[in-house]
């Protein structure tokens, strides 16, 4: 298993800015079956867990790290929490910055806890999203 305590605290560069659009908010609200009027109209906010869409863009850095050899298809989401400073709104340009917070090995698997900070390109804090990912490496790598 290529992951070790040495990687705790590792931080990745912020993602490229993501522009939150009315259309994407509506698509996401439809996909989660929520007709709340706050997600519609000319100046919608995003459903709270839309933050996960942006946070997951920062996970890509984790999955692209050759030292970790982690693959999305071998990953199960174990827990998730969010703390918002304010909701995401249409028109926000948002970056996501990931750091590895905790590692707990279990055989050929590990629980990897990552914290993603979402902020606007004007450095306004929006959300802290903390996820624990249960990753299993193939047996030959164990």
């Amino acid at each position: 298993m290529p992951i070790s305590d040495a990687q705790v605290g590792r931080a990745y560069p912020a993602t490229a800015p993501y522009l939150v659009s009315r259309e994407k908010i509506a698509e996401f609200a439809d996909a989660v079956g929520d007709a709340n009027p706050a997600y519609r109209g000319s100046a919608p906010i995003a459903p709270p867990t839309f933050a996960a869409v942006l946070a997951a863009r920062a996970w890509d850095g984790l999955f692209a790290d050759p030292e970790l050899d982690m693959k999305l298809a071998q990953t199960i989401h174990a827990d998730q929490s969010f703390r918002w400073t304010r909701p995401l709104r249409a028109g926000d340009e948002v970056t996501a910055t990931l750091r590895i917070d905790k590692l707990r090995a279990r055989g050929a698997s590990a629980f990897v806890t990552v914290a993603v900070t979402l902020a606007t390109t004007d450095s306004e804090a929006i959300c802290e999203a903390v996820s624990t990912l249960l990753h299993t490496w193939p047996k030959e790598d164990a």
Partner: protein
């Protein structure tokens, strides 16, 4: 405008149906194309009985019990869950039903804590599921 909450108050329950179509829509809307949510082969490789719902989809849909109650989703300032059991979704028209209940467990400093329970066939699929809601 402020809303009121009393410790012990039960929120109106929700029943959520999950079909393969829901998973496809969520994959597209969220960009989460992990094959365990659309390929039975990939799910089996991780020891899962079949394709499972995105944990984030269950988490997102369960929160509606809170936002329907408080009206304005911007009141939600924190939300966390553990994904304790997968939600296997069969390839049929009926899908599976997840029952969501919730109650207010604390009110302090203008913030209500709501504990959410989501079950599939009587078994909890979310653990330690709590949301914090601004009341002011």
């Amino acid at each position: 405008m402020s809303i009121t909450a009393e410790v012990g108050a039960e929120l109106p329950p929700l029943t959520l149906t999950f079909t393969r179509e829901h998973l496809v829509r969520y994959a597209g809307a969220s960009g989460d194309f992990n094959p365990i949510h659309w390929s039975d082969r990939s799910a089996a490789r991780l020891g899962l009985p079949s394709v499972i719902a995105h944990g984030m989809l269950t988490m997102a849909r369960a929160l509606r019990i809170v936002t329907d109650w408080c009206g304005d989703p911007s009141r939600v300032r924190a939300y966390g869950v553990r994904f304790t059991k997968p939600v296997p979704v069969p390839d049929d028209d009926e899908g599976v039903e997840v029952t969501v209940t919730a109650s207010v467990t604390a009110v302090a400093d203008g913030v209500a804590t709501v504990a959410i329970t989501a079950t599939l066939g009587g078994v909890k699929v979310l653990g330690s599921a709590n949301a914090e809601v601004r009341l002011d």
